[in-house]
């Protein structure tokens, strides 16, 4: 659990982070979203004391981090940045082993951890451990950067625009990988992005920042239905809200029990309703059969049920302006 309490950062006259308070529950993903210069990185960097607050404090599991030696704190917290900052003179294995070596792990344990992480990130250890960063593609560098941040098994991982430099196709795969690894290790993940789509895809909570202030901190579904300010509403999108709502729900969660109607389209349970809707429209069917990972049927979903879920609140029938009141 990370709690921000009246956290403020000033540089001279400018207030870059302005009296921000909210609490990030353990083992969840929080995305900090906002325009460039809104103070996202500064907020993130106050968690590992790369930036010292002007006032207010950050507590981790109730402990004020100002009482912890910065370098000790940082070894407990994973940190990745936009350009990864891999050490060009270290091999992939040495890069990943950085923090475990600082912590004095025995060599055998370090080696096992490096191989485990490389395998987890689909980098064959035999092929990649002894490469240097300049011998890696952008996507591979990104994965090494995340592996390095996770090497000492931190409970908290801070990521500053981790996918910013990746092209769209690799980016989606990298997001899926990150989500899988986060839930596997139960890491509390705080990630900065300026891409609302990415935030909705990954996060349990979204914190929207503007001019150093926190506009709203809420789960994506709630933010879609009840944006707190015009800015949040603008960020979260006005024209494709219905699709964004659908993208938050998996078939597994939406499945109605019972045998599917005849002619239902079989689809995997991990698909989102948004993807399922597209499949139904394309195949001209009215219902689908949900199939689990093991191939067993898990119920069905009708086109009508999907459409009903996509509908906004009653008040919004008068248009977006009425909803804001």
């Amino acid at each position: 659990m990370i709690s921000f309490e009246h956290l403020t950062k000033r540089y001279g006259e400018a207030t870059v982070v302005d009296d921000i308070s909210f609490t990030v529950p353990s083992r969840t993903v929080t995305a900090i979203v906002g325009a460039s210069g809104s103070g996202k990185s500064t907020l993130l960097r106050m968690v590992n004391r790369l930036v010292a607050p002007s006032s207010g404090r950050v507590c981790i599991d109730g402990e004020d981090i100002a009482r912890i030696q910065p370098y000790m704190l940082r070894r407990r917290i994973g940190y990745t940045i936009q350009n990864y900052g891999l050490f060009p003179h270290y091999t992939v294995a040495e890069n990943v082993a950085t923090v475990p070596r600082l912590l004095g792990w025995p060599p055998a344990r370090i080696e096992a951890k490096v191989d485990e992480l490389l395998t987890l990130f689909r980098l064959d250890p035999g092929e990649f451990r002894n490469r240097f960063p300049h011998q890696l593609s952008g996507g591979q560098q990104q994965r090494v950067g995340v592996a390095r941040a996770l090497a000492a098994e931190p409970n908290i991982l801070l990521m500053d625009e981790p996918f910013g430099a990746l092209d769209p196709i690799i980016r989606e795969k990298a997001q899926d990988d990150l989500k899988a690894i986060q839930s596997r290790f139960g890491t509390t993940l705080l990630l900065v992005t300026h891409d609302m789509e990415e935030a909705i895809r990954l996060a349990d909570h979204i914190a929207v920042m503007e001019g150093g202030r926190l506009e709203q901190y809420a789960p994506p579904g709630e933010m879609l239905l009840h944006p707190a300010t015009p800015l949040v509403e603008q960020l979260i999108g006005t024209s494709d809200k219905a699709f964004r709502v659908l993208s938050l729900v998996t078939l597994e969660a939406a499945a109605a029990p019972g045998p599917p109607p005849p002619g239902a389209l079989p689809l995997p349970a991990s698909l989102s309703l948004r993807e399922a809707l597209s499949e139904l429209l394309w195949s001209r069917r009215n219902a689908l059969a949900v199939i689990g990972d093991d191939g067993a049927p898990k119920g069905s979903v009708t086109l009508e049920a999907i459409l009903r879920r996509a509908a906004g609140p009653e008040a919004s029938q008068d248009g977006p302006a009425a909803e804001r009141r």
């Binding site: 910065p70 940082r74 070894r75 990864y84 900052g85 060009p88 600082l102």
Partner: protein, 387 residues
């Protein structure tokens, strides 16, 4: 074959330069014959001083080198340049022995203009070949080592025993090695002291904005003082110190000699080492430093594990500059009694004996050249491309 002649790209412009130099070598005097060591020389061409078979062999080899310079790739050029240098060396030695045998024991035979032009042409060809082949840093280090072995081989084989420079060496072999040791001690020792001062100073200047400009300016001013003037300027304070501190005088430190020379070289070396350390440290990419800090490296760990290793190629570039510069400047140290190869140069000038000048100048040039190649290879070995 014909197509090769028609294509201009296959025709190297370097060929004209090398051919011109090698042709001049064959036309000009290979050696010059002196009745004694200070009398002016009498030029002797390749054909006048070599047995016909050897002269023909030399002509053939140099012609092949010309052809390689026009049409050859890297390896043929390298092979012909090496062969040519060896042939020129042998020819010079044989010519010297033949002429000395007839001219009596006072006579001297020194390499002539033709020899130097030919050597220059072949070295140009060799350097060009090395660039074309793109030797790895390790290969370049081996090449320097190999060249050193070849040089020693020629020297100790006795083939040059009647060449004038070697006769000068024979007359003062012990002095030669002693002054050589002093020369290297002056250049490398002052470099070491400069590193011990300059690298920490560079690290310090990275943190102190206020001291940066004044100190770099001071070191810059020192650099602009001509070497003779700096040697001279140090004589006064050092003799004063020696006069007032008997302990210093007893340690051999006084106004003239090794001490002021060494000190001057250290002062000259400080700017490149300090400035390059600072530049190297400031060139470490910001994301790398941010990541290092964010992972919990202390500032000392960042310096030792990240900043200095990444700055090393730039620091070594400064060290290279200083080493090559000091190997040259150490020659001037002899003027104030500092010793080194310069001793022979200035003795030679005083006696009007050009061969003695060469005895001092040649090893200085060879050392500086070898140091430059070795340092370049080391810099290439430590450099890492950015990701």
């Amino acid at each position: 074959m014909t197509r090769g002649y028609l294509r201009p790209a296959a025709f190297s412009r370097l060929g004209f330069v090398v051919t011109g130099l090698l042709a001049a070598a064959l036309a000009g005097p290979l050696v010059s014959f002196h009745a004694n060591r200070i009398l002016p020389g009498d030029p002797r061409s390749v054909f006048a001083c070599l047995p016909p078979a050897l002269a023909a062999g030399l002509v053939l080899i140099l012609a092949a080198a010309m052809a390689a310079a026009f049409f050859g790739g890297g390896w043929p050029r390298l092979a012909m340049a090496s062969l040519g240098i060896a042939a020129l060396g042998i020819a010079c030695g044989v010519a010297a022995s033949r002429l000395t045998a007839t001219g009596g024991s006072w006579s001297r035979v020194s390499p002539g203009m033709g020899f130097w032009l030919g050597l220059f042409g072949l070295v140009v060809l060799f350097a060009d070949a090395a660039v074309r082949i793109r030797f790895s840093p390790r290969a370049r280090l081996s090449l320097v080592f190999l060249a050193g072995l070849c040089l020693a081989g020629f020297f100790y084989s006795g083939i040059w025993r009647d060449v004038s420079v070697v006769r000068e060496y024979d007359a003062r072999a012990a002095d030669f090695w002693r002054e050589g040791g002093i020369h290297i001690m002056l250049a490398a020792g002052s470099l070491m002291v400069a590193c011990l001062i300059g690298i920490p100073l560079g690290i310090g200047l990275k943190f102190s904005q206020a001291l940066r400009a004044p100190i770099l300016n001071l070191l810059n001013v020192i650099q602009t003082i001509p070497s003779i003037a700096l040697f001279g300027m140090l004589i006064v304070p050092l003799s004063w110190l020696a006069a007032h501190l008997p302990a210093l005088a007893k340690a051999g430190i006084n106004g003239v000699g090794v001490a002021p020379a060494f000190l001057a070289l250290v002062l000259y070396s400080l700017l490149p080492v300090t400035a390059n350390t600072l530049i190297g440290l400031r060139g470490v990419p910001a994301p790398v430093l941010d990541a290092a800090r964010g992972m919990g490296l202390t500032s000392l760990q960042r310096l030792g594990r990240v900043e200095l290793p990444l700055a090393l190629p730039v620091i070594l570039t400064g060290v290279r500059l200083v080493l090559v510069q000091n190997l040259g400047l150490a020659t001037v140290a002899a003027l104030i009694g500092g010793g080194g190869f310069g001793v022979f140069v200035f003795q030679g000038i005083g006696q009007g004996a050009p061969d003695l000048i060469l005895l001092g100048a040649l090893p200085s040039v060879i050392l500086a050249l070898a140091a430059a190649v070795v340092m370049d290879a080391l810099i290439a070995l430590t450099a890492r491309p950015a990701p």
